[in-house]
Amino acid sequence: MDIIAILEDILAATIRGATPLLLAALGEVVAQRAGVINIGIEGMMLIGALFGWVGSFYFAELLFFAPWIGLLIAGFSGLVTAALFAFFAIRLRGDQVVIGTAITLLALGFTEVVYVRLFGQTGSLQSVPYFKQFDVPLLSQIPFFGDALFSHNIIVYLAFLLVPCVYFFLYHTQLGLRVRACGEHPKAISTVGSSVSLLRTISLLFAGAMAGIGGGYLSLADVPYFTPGMTTGRGFIALAIVIFGKWHPIKTSGAALLFGLGFALDNRFQAFGWDIQYQWFLMLPFALCLAVLAGFVGKAEAPLALGKPYDPSE
């Protein structure tokens, strides 16, 4: 393997690895800009991964459309989970960290139970119709970059196209302006006649749907299987990405690529067959996460009202 081919391979893997992180993080950016810390993101991804896969399984005869239906179901299941979060965190004004942790733990158990109920304790993995590689016409012919950037499944392209969309929403629409205001000074936004709980609920539902789709990507595009606990901390990494991306969608996409590189290197290094225990490589993205947060979290400027329940009577 020559060096060019290795680089090409790593770049392509970086982008694939970044995609589920980016999807979840983009939703989380919006939720946190509205002032809600959605720690349940890991659980929402896991639920999305399961139900997306189940959806594709049951609609398997539709072939091409099966993974699309699966992805829709993944997003919807994430949204429903987020609605549960919203009920406790916004309606009942509970502690967001506690509720989010509870949702993640709940999802871990729930997805495994559902999976085992449906398919039993099978040793073999059940394959479903999934998103196939889609080479972008012409662009994929470019040497080096063609294979690295334009020979992925369709969700990869859509995820990166969403970045400017979220940016436009936050910075160039009135609703986006209100979402940002909501995370800075919710009382101020309510005194000009907006509903804080409505804004936060919408943002949270969006975050849930995006986390669900991110999870669905794992079981419908990365691999055509579901395994319990398959998100392996990607939700928490998405949280770190949001902080590292300074709550800005474009910077967040950069952060997602950095962590995607972490996952890519982890895989490549394992493949090199070096005489190092593979667990060291598995640790790589998380060690990166720790290093990045330790170095940057102090300088980051979080939305002022982040994580604080809004009580209009105060």
């Binding site: 101020a188 000009v192 209009p312």
Partner: protein
Amino acid sequence: METDNILELQHVTKTFGDLVAVDNVDFELQAGEIHAILGENGAGKSTLMNLIYGLHQPSGGSIHISGKPKIFKSPRDAIANGIGMVHQHFMLIENLTVAENIALTVAQFSSRDGKTDSIESDLKSVSQENGIPSKLSTFRYKKNDAIRLTEALSQRFGLAVDPSVLVRTLSVGLKQRVEILKALAVDARILILDEPTAVLSPQEVTDFFTILRALQSDNRSIIFISHKMKEVLEISDRITVLRHGKKVYNGKTGERSARGLAREMLGEELSEVERKQNKATTDLVLNISGLTVLGSRNETAVLDVSIQTYRGEIVGIAGVDGNGQRELAEAIMGLRPSKFGTVEILGMQPSGTKNIRRCGVGYIPEDRRTMGIITSFSIAENLMLNIMHFEHLAKHGIISQKAKNRAAMQLIDTYDIRPPFANIPAAALSGGNQQKIVLAREISPQPELLVAVNPTRGLDINAAQYVHQNLLAQRDRKKSVLLISTELDEVLQMSDRLYVMSRGKLIEATTHRENIETLGLLMMGEAATNA
């Protein structure tokens, strides 16, 4: 007369549980009048305004706009009916620009027919040649449109402010301007101003009153809430006094003397704090020389400050908030490192807050809720927080519960903390009683030096007097007091010697009341005029 009432409240009542915050209040506001509402803290002024603005809903009675009864479910309804409010704590989003803050309000209401017509035609006339938008899109946020709209509003009302800067970079006076613009942007005919002058320097107050008069001549009505008698008498056409949620007085400005109004506010004769003449001593307590301190954003907050305090005197430091007072106090207490200079207490240079306190320094911090007490702790526990009490009540680090409660009850008794129970959380107490906890804790060990920062902020007149008596008692015990306050009246009344702090520097000033204009100029950093 009746038809002139743009706003009328009839028998409005608001209860929170058992507490009657507003009790059967009638209120009338005429078009183009400035109507002041006077009352102590907790008299129900803010609650009444929140009812008018739709933040709370009345438990009884009715609100009429131009003769028609209205129900405001949220501020949205109030705004749509031409009511604007400038809250005491600004409702601005600090990390957004001025234009964005304005746009947040405008976009929600410009789409409605009718209500903003007049402001739109106003703006059109201002902006015909430039093609400035008179409304904003409800979907897209267009930065340039918002900026031009803000500029047009500024021009129309003569309230100059840069639309494209972040709100957090503005001075308090300018922030207030943005708040007023926000209300005017949706064509508020009734403006509620909650304690608008509390944060302003004397010069800014003068500018502010000019703005109010201009709005008045535009036939807009203003409700002006304050507890500053002098300002109310100067600006208002009519005065309503609230006490314990009830309306106790209503009349034209000038019908009652200041003293008469104060009596209505308090329900009793106001007793002035007795202040004996003082013999200055030459015993040095605090000696600061050449002190320079950095603020939290690494800016120079205190610059080359030198000041001495002696036994048996109160030294006052006046100044507008944010001119380095907080950093100075924190540097004295060892809570913030100093860059240059020395702080000597009784000839020693202790390092660290613990050692500084051991030298006999008491500290009343500026914000009792975040720095003075721990609201979830009991009264007794809060009283124990002072290291001097702690050492006395604990053996080998273990607190004797009996001794703690006994000591607490004694202090609760001496300082009249109500309700008088050692083990209820401090959060359950009123602001005045919370401050008494701080006083009891800091003054009872009789410190050689007491550093008090805004010790009466947010307290009613009686509680404030109690604090003042304690500061004076400390002086009469031949201790030294450093009083840092933004309340000019307070420092003038209390101080034996007076300084003004402006942009990190100290300037010596006189305590004569006649020099209040000069003091105001000093506070704004206009030195040299006093010479």
